[in-house]
């Protein structure tokens, strides 16, 4: 029987994958062809979605982007045997976009049936967990330390140290919390994991639980991801029935329970302390630190809170060893990062690579330049709190340290490209507006400053006391950076100041004009 693969990833669905799947089924019925249709995650080659793959003796052959109306002609062309067609892309693994990647964390996404335990196991799943079950908590933590893994949510804090702190704080109840509040524009790797390979996240969380003796885990998922919610719940149910979760994980006598909780539309709840408040059923306002969540987190108990990709990287470390993982990357940025190419690019999608490739490699070699065909003028890296970089800086290598050298940050690895029609002053204004919209309202610099920021930029744009207001804007950004309670107010000046620095003309500043 022939096996076809069509993604159920919400990106693919947003482009009509469901219609394609239905058309395939009905066409096959019509033609009396028997086939097995597997719904997978997405390969992350979104410009080719909906992507249809067919298993052939020489591997999977891909077709895309497919629309429902293409299906009869695909069958006509013998799609089930990898027949040639205008949409045929050849063996999928040979596509340079994929071939040039180092798929580690997202190794199975797009390949397996996300909710099939058998498929997961057949592709190396649960080997890490089995290995970890043979280790003590201390050994597990040491392994994570040795791997050099740093938090992939944006702050890049060494994961092992966080785990160690939670381990060192005595308490009868500890928690593992997965931060799945992926709110940055330009990022979707968490979603791809949760929709495309949820077991790897579950496995990572169980290992984290074993490390510190936590028996309860929560995945705090943003409400904008309904498909991920469905897939995760299904996967948890299956993992539970098969004994990977529950009161006796794989007969080890250790227990780990896992529940998905949804957010309710609040960017700030991606900040870990606000997330904890929200998980406790409260207003998602920031808690001050110390105490760290690892000491006093969810319900006041020691809590490991890690991003999806961080936790999903853990099983591999225990499958292949810390040394293997550490072998990737550069400097203090070890392992791989799933970069996400978005905005105005021809070939948007997911590129998992070891740290160190340059921005221009990503934008042009992978991304193929802008979607509109116009020059790429600016790139925002690291979400709404990330800096805007001009073309002059596109050769910057993508690692934590190099980016901080150009007053930028890698964040969650999202990269949003803009062509030369972009007005960078309006992007700066948007940054402040976004901050005003999402501020929790606790600290003054963010609560009042973001609103004033919008107003001051408006005045600059209307050329009202431009010089004075530019000065005021810088002062305001300074206060927000140095005075804000959390990263929202503290980092929102990044896009504002970088836009001002690199694109002064958009603010009506002539190059000759004195800026300070």
């Amino acid at each position: 029987m022939n096996t076809l693969y069509i993604p159920q990833d919400s990106g693919a669905l947003s482009l009509g994958a469901e219609g394609v799947a239905r058309a395939v089924q009905s066409e096959a019925r019509k033609r009396g062809e028997e086939l097995r249709l597997v719904r997978t995650g997405s390969r992350g080659l979104y410009w080719l979605e909906p992507l249809l793959e067919v298993a052939t003796p020489s591997g999977r052959v891909a077709y895309g982007p497919v629309s429902a109306s293409d299906v009869p002609s695909l069958f006509e062309a013998g799609v089930l045997r990898g027949g040639s067609h205008a949409l045929c892309l050849g063996p999928i693994e040979e596509l340079p976009y994929l071939k040039q990647q180092e798929r580690m964390t997202l190794a199975r996404v797009g390949i397996t049936d996300p909710t099939s335990l058998e498929d997961y196991a057949a592709h190396g799943g649960f080997r890490g967990l089995r290995n970890a079950l043979g280790l003590s908590g201390e050994q597990i933590i040491k392994e994570v330390m040795d791997s050099g893994l740093r938090g992939r949510g944006g702050a890049a804090f060494p994961t092992g140290i966080k785990w160690k702190t939670a381990d060192a704080t005595p308490s009868p109840q500890k928690y593992i919390v997965c931060n799945a509040d992926e709110g940055d524009s330009g990022t979707f790797s968490d979603r791809m994991i949760m929709e495309g390979d949820p077991f790897v996240l579950i496995e990572g969380m169980v290992i984290a639980g074993l490390a510190i003796g936590a028996t309860q885990g929560y995945i705090y998922l943003r409400s904008e991801y309904p498909h991920a919610y469905r897939v995760l719940n299904l996967a948890i149910e299956k993992a539970q029935s098969a004994g990977y979760l529950g009161g006796d994980v794989l007969g080890s006598g250790k227990s780990f329970h896992l529940e998905v909780r949804r957010g309710a539309g609040s960017y700030i709840c991606g900040e870990e302390t606000a997330l904890l408040e929200s998980l406790e059923g409260k207003r998602g306002v920031i808690r001050y630190r110390p105490p760290l969540p690892a000491v006093s987190g969810l319900f006041g108990q020691p809590t490991i809170i890690n991003n999806v990709i961080t936790l999903a990287s853990v099983p591999l470390i225990f499958d292949r060893g810390a040394a293997f993982y550490k072998n990737y990357g550069t400097g203090r940025s070890r392992g791989t990062l799933p970069f996400q190419l978005a905005g105005n690019v021809k070939r948007g999608g997911l590129v998992e690579k070891a740290f160190g490739l340059t921005l221009s490699e990503l934008l042009y070699d992978f991304g193929g330049g802008s979607f509109t065909g116009r020059p790429i003028r600016a790139v925002q890296i690291g979400g709404p709190l990330g800096a805007y970089l001009p073309e002059a800086l596109f050769d910057t290598p993508l690692d934590y340290e190099a980016l901080s050298g150009v007053q930028a940050m890698l964040g969650h690895g999202g990269i949003v490209a803009f062509d030369d029609t972009v007005d960078m002053a309006s992007m700066a204004r948007f940054a402040m507006e976004f901050c005003a919209l999402e501020s929790c309202g606790k600290c003054t610099p963010c609560r009042i400053g973001s609103t004033r920021g919008v107003e001051v930029i408006d005045k600059i744009l209307r050329n009202r006391n431009r010089k004075g207001n530019l000065h005021l804007l810088r002062d305001l950004c300074d206060i927000m950076v140095s005075g804000s309670l959390c990263g929202l107010g503290g980092l929102i000046p990044n896009p504002v100041l970088s836009a001002l620095k690199h694109f002064p003309k958009d603010f009506g500043i002539e190059e000759t004009e004195e800026l300070h």
Binding site: S266, R283, V285, Y288, R289, P290, A436, L437, E438, S439, C440, G441, K442, C443, T444, P445, C446, R447, I448, G449, S450, T451, R452, E455, V456, G468, L472, D475, L476, D478, I479, S482, G483, S484, L485
Partner: protein, 950 residues
């Protein structure tokens, strides 16, 4: 706004065995570990600008003004949320910090009205202070941006105004409501720039869950939440530390004054009973002190049907002395007596009993504790050896199990209730024993009693015996404690007694209506849940077995070893401010100060020598005995200081007859109260603001009352008593109440070490205070009981004679509510009437349905003693078969229906059990109509009084 003379340390004082030394701006400071940098800096006299931090609340970290630089750390940590570390080097003032702070203030002021000159906080505003401190000179944002300046005021609360246009969203009010008061009535609505303080669901304060404790007003750094009195009068200019004259918690206050006018009352952060908190009564309800109803001239009349005649103090005192002497000459020296007041100071109370014993030559002196906590005195003295609660309020913070019996702390003792709630939220378990679901049974957020033993009124003793039965028969007793600390023979006898099958929960269930399983669960929890503390109120004492129940609770505490350390004990919640003190002062007819029996010749000798008289060795009449004797014709005159038993005592018609039967009723009070309507002489008393003295609260804490203004009628109460004594030919001379306290100390071993000087120095003293305990005794019975060995005493349950019948099928029980106080003479003359305009009858839906009673309908409540008409309120707080009301309004005549039954030992009335029937009616009862006419007549007689020139 905090008190005008307070230093704010920014974050709460931490207690730690470890001290940490750090450098603040180059100076070494040593503070307890866990302190914030802000605290350390303030302690070192460095003022770090701050707005969201205040030392009554945990750090919050929102205003970002208190940023500092720490050597070796990146950025600018907030000093309020950063704990001190050994060797830390902190700079609080640098040009960079100045820029940041100025920038933050610039943001604040860009959304704040510029009306400082007309703002009620002008001159005492933290925002204004900070603008000055950081040197804010301009607001470059202008004032045309988004703002909240148009948000309207909420003036719904009678005492304070909420002006959101001035709000800086520091959340101090929200946090105070949660952390200090524990009510959580406030929240922040919305988020970001739109964040605003919201009572309840974006509603007015009065419609919200707010209990008007004022913690938010005190916490507010601006004029957003401000006392209306400050709006009207402006800022006060001085503060006088004094003690609240409402309940037995004894909150310390700063009366903030302008001239001799009180602008506002601010709870004292250094108050040892209240630690800076207060309730709606203490903080706001002081307006009665200057209410126009106050009578400020002495008055006389021959008969209560005559108009009053104002007279001079001399004439009034002379008349009283003359009448008393005349009556004694005609009817014997025992024919007169006096009542001391738990409202008055210790010194005043002491003088009244001295007047009776030394000048009247008898022991006919009693106090209103007779009708509330006299069983406490009897019960605790019998078992433990002294007539007082065993703990300090602070002790509750160490309790693992809190038992509340027959009390509703959130109504009666709200400031202590807040402490209790905090402890419960920290995880202590709660057992409630009450026929009614008091607030604590389930209080948001999160408080839920582990057990609510909802017993039939009048069955306390059966229940307490059953709890003891479970402890003893299930092997949960602390035998080591009981055998070592108590009389062993009595213990064995008592064990056998409670082990009887009669007291097995399964039997007691039949009597109390409490399921056996619940009794067992509660007993196990009490015995095994760590430190267990009992707090009780009048639901224990005001029964025919009130004293027995107090003994029963002491037995239970002894058998589980829950005495003699922090976190445990048996603690009466005293109703009035000075119940404890009035009792301590020898106000009972059988006892001299310090609970020493009048028959003890040695004790008498001390007093006889000091007072230069011979004392009568036999006990005198108690209040109900006085009434009986008056009706009998052997008791003819009474001097009543600050009590209103025509409203407060049971069986009103009996009391009224007794008053009418007397020849000379002298009432010394603030208002023409119910009792004064039967008086022949009215002597205008003074409020707590008008005199010096001391009050003793429920935890034996003696605190100073300080004169804020001169007595409006010219004399303080102690001066009046002194004048009567002198006029009767017994010489008394004191220049100041401190001299009275000196005499008390000389005569009373437990108070030997107390003086005004020491009180001023220490703030307060918990007795015993003597050579053994020069600074007082927070916890009693440490190591051994006051009586030596604890005495287990058998407590047979005897059902009250007040039974339900076909005619009177319901049980009425009474209590009080938060906003009103006792007979309401004070609170009814304040804005507190906004919360409680009348007493209502709470009735279960089932009973209401059966009788065709709708919510808000007028109903007759009839007992064997009388009947009154009240408004019905259908409620699920009580069980079917029980109805409940309060007694704050005279027109309700709640005590018309209560009976003559009383505690066997002390004659404390059985207020809590009255068999009644409730039925719908259209108009007031006969008594109420008579009362209305009588009141109208007495008001007319007052109005028609002959006046004298001032």
């Amino acid at each position: 706004m905090h008190a005008i003379d307070d230093i704010d340390y920014g974050t709460p004082r931490k207690v730690s065995d470890t001290m940490v030394t750090l450098q603040v701006d180059g100076s070494a400071v040593t503070v307890p570990a866990g302190s914030s940098i802000l605290y350390a800096a303030q302690a070192a006299g460095r003022r770090i600008p701050k707005l969201c931090a205040t030392d009554s609340l945990e750090a919050f970290g929102s205003c970002r003004l208190c940023l500092v630089e720490i050597q070796g750390r990146r950025g600018y940590p907030a000093s309020c949320t950063t704990p001190v570390e050994e060797g830390m080097r902190v700079r609080t003032q640098t040009p960079r910090l100045a820029d940041l702070r100025r920038g933050i203030m610039e943001l604040y002021i860009s959304d704040h009205p510029l009306d400082c000159l007309t703002c009620p906080a002008n001159g005492h505003c933290e925002l204004q202070d900070m603008a000055g401190a950081v040197g804010l000179r301009e607001v470059r944002y202008g004032y045309d941006g988004a703002n909240h300046l148009e948000v309207p005021k909420d003036e719904s609360n009678p005492y304070f105004t909420f002006d959101p246009s001035k709000c800086i969203v520091c959340s101090r009010c929200v946090r105070a409501c949660a952390e200090v008061q524990g009510t959580f009535a406030l929240t922040i609505d919305g988020r970001g720039f739109a964040s605003k303080v919201s009572p309840g669901q974006r509603e007015s304060f009065m419609d919200s869950e707010c209990v008007s404790c004022g913690a938010c007003v005190q916490a507010c750094p601006t004029a957003t939440l401000m006392e209306n009195s400050v709006y009207q009068m402006g800022q006060p200019d001085r503060a006088v530390v004094t003690t609240c004259a409402y309940c037995g918690v004894g909150c310390s206050f700063k009366a903030e004054v302008k001239g001799d006018q009180v602008v506002r009352m601010v709870p004292n952060k250094d108050g040892h009973a209240n630690h800076g908190h207060s309730c709606v009564k203490g903080r706001f309800a002081f307006g009665y002190t200057t209410h126009p109803d106050r009578i400020l001239k002495p008055m006389l009349r021959k008969s209560i049907d005559e108009p009053w005649k104002e007279v001079s103090w001399n004439d009034a005192i002379g008349y009283v002395a003359g009448e008393f002497k005349r009556i004694q000459a005609g009817h014997g020296s025992d024919s007169i007596g006096a009542i001391t007041s738990s409202r008055c100071t210790n010194e005043e109370t002491f003088l009244v009993q001295k007047l009776v014993r030394a000048a009247f030559g008898n022991n006919n002196v009693d106090t209103c504790a007779r009708v509330c906590h006299s069983p406490t005195g009897y019960g605790l003295k019998t078992t433990l050896g002294t007539s007082a609660g065993t703990q300090a309020f602070d002790s509750v913070e160490k309790a693992g199990v809190i038992v509340v019996i027959g009390a509703s702390p959130t109504d009666g003792h709200p400031v202590f209730a807040s402490r209790m709630k905090r402890r419960l939220r920290e995880g202590a378990k709660l057992i409630v024993v009450d026929p009614r679901a008091i607030d604590l049974v389930r209080t948001p957020p999160g408080i839920e009693a582990a057990c609510h033993l909802q017993l039939q009124p009048g069955t306390n003793v059966a229940l307490i015996n059953s709890l003891a039965h479970v402890v003893v028969t299930e092997g949960l007793a602390n035998e080591a404690f009981a055998l070592e600390r108590c009389e062993p023979a009595d213990y064995q006898k008592w064990k056998a007694f409670v082990s009887q099958q009669t007291y097995a929960p399964e039997q007691v269930e039949q009597v109390t209506g409490v399921p056996a399983a619940q009794i067992r669960q509660a007993a196990r929890l009490y015995a095994t849940g760590g430190n267990a503390a009992i707090y009780y109120g009048l639901g224990v004492t005001e029964h025919s077995q009130g004293s027995t129940m107090v003994i029963g609770m002491a037995n239970l505490a002894m058998v589980t070893g829950n005495l003699g350390r922090e976190g445990v004990g048996v603690n009466p919640l005293r109703g009035q401010n000075n119940v404890q003190g009035a009792c301590d002062m020898g106000s009972f007819p059988h006892e001299l100060s310090g609970y020493r029996h009048i028959s003890d010749a040695g004790v008498r000798g001390l007093f006889e020598k000091e007072w230069n008289v011979t004392l009568n060795p036999e006990p005198g009449l108690r209040i109900p005995n006085m009434f009986d004797a008056a009706l009998d014709g052997s008791f003819k005159a009474i001097y009543i200081q600050g009590e209103d038993f025509a409203q407060s005592d049971p069986n009103t018609q009996h009391v009224e007859s007794a008053l009418r039967a007397m020849e000379c009723v002298v009432v010394q009070d603030l208002f023409l109260n119910e009792t004064a309507k039967f008086a022949h002489v009215f002597l205008p008393g003074s409020t707590f603001l008008e005199k010096d003295g001391t009050f003793t609260n429920a935890e034996r804490r003696i605190q100073r009352v300080r004169k804020v203004m001169p007595p409006m009628a010219g004399l303080a109460d102690w001066e009046i008593t002194m004048a009567i004594a002198n006029a009767m030919g017994y010489s008394m001379h004191y220049d100041h109440p401190s001299e009275i306290m000196d005499e008390i100390a000389r005569l009373t071993p437990t108070l030997r070490g107390v003086s005004f000087e020491k009180l001023d120095r220490l703030g307060s003293i918990q007795w015993p205070c003597n050579d053994n305990a020069p600074e007082g005794t927070p916890t009693m019975h440490v190591g051994q009981f006051v009586r030596g060995k604890g005495k287990f005493t058998m407590t047979e349950y005897v059902a009250t004679e007040e039974r339900t019948s076909r005619k009177y099928p319901l049980i009425l029980t009474t209590g009080r509510i938060l906003s009103q106080y006792n007979v309401g003479a004070q609170t009814r003359r304040t804005g507190n009437v906004a919360w409680h305009q009348e007493d209502v009858l709470e009735i279960h839906a089932h009973d209401a349905e059966q009788r065709g009673i709708a919510d808000d309908a007028k109903v007759s409540v009839a007992s064997r003693a009388g009947n009154v008409v009240l408004t019905a309120r259908i409620s699920d707080r009580i069980q079917p078969g029980v109805v409940y009301t309060t007694f704050h309004h005279p027109v309700s005549g709640t005590n018309v229906i209560t009976t003559d039954n009383s505690d066997w030992a002390t004659n404390c009335p059985e207020y809590k059990v009255t068999a009644v029937e409730v039925s719908p009616v259209a108009r007031h009862s006969e008594w109420q109509r008579q009362h209305r006419d009588f009141t109208a007549r007495q008001q007319a007689l007052l109005k028609e009084r002959e006046t004298i020139e001032a």
